[in-house]
Amino acid sequence: MPKVIFDDHELKAFTRDLERAARIMPAEAAKVVAKAAVNIKKDARRRVSGLKHAPAYPFSITFDDVQRTGTYAKTEVGPDKDKRQGALGNILEYGSVHNHPHPHLAPAAEAEEPRFARAMDALAAKALER
């Protein structure tokens, strides 16, 4: 009777790699998200700096502490309405009937997007190589 032998040691090793990566990824991903948030905050502040009538507004742009679970890490970047001129965010970003816009949050986020994607790719590769 012929016998068929399956060698699954590589599959089992890969499973262990994935399990190890899943353990370290949430904390590492949170660091990448935090770095992206810092970059967006700085870029948005720069883009909207120097406005005569909104000198304090750039300093109202902050980001929340990164929240994370086993499957996601998130934060929110934007003007804090409790800070001075923080309530001007919508008018500055989109403009109004009387004022033209100063897009700063969306462009900053779009500029960061490819860097964030690259950092997450690198993190995933690093986690699997350990």
Partner: protein, 137 residues
Amino acid sequence: MSTLQDHADAGLNLLRADTALTVYDGAVTGTADHYVLVYTFRNLPGGEQAPDKTPLTGDTATVDMRFYCHCVGVDAIASRAIQARVQAALLDVTPAVAGRACFPIRWVEGTQVDRNEETLSAVFDAVDVYSLVSVPG
């Protein structure tokens, strides 16, 4: 005429083609009580943001013209009606710009209909942002 002005005109002319729609470019210059006020903002995404549209030389080739459309009316219903006309005029339409290959206009983001709280401005306003992307062609 500059390429950037051509891109702005491409979007504005689509809106102006709707003869029932009052279109203001950058400032309210009339007395209409319902209208779309358009501000333009152009991005020039480079290789990092638009790798599939950037030549190997790395030269910036892409124009991303954003149309900030303030859809204004005396109440929320009128504001939404303007939003609908703007959407019908712009969304997924591929305009022609001389010397450029245009992609269909896409909606990027927007705000809810809300009362404009600025002084002397008791109108309702909703903002929709549309994007017209083109490459040399």
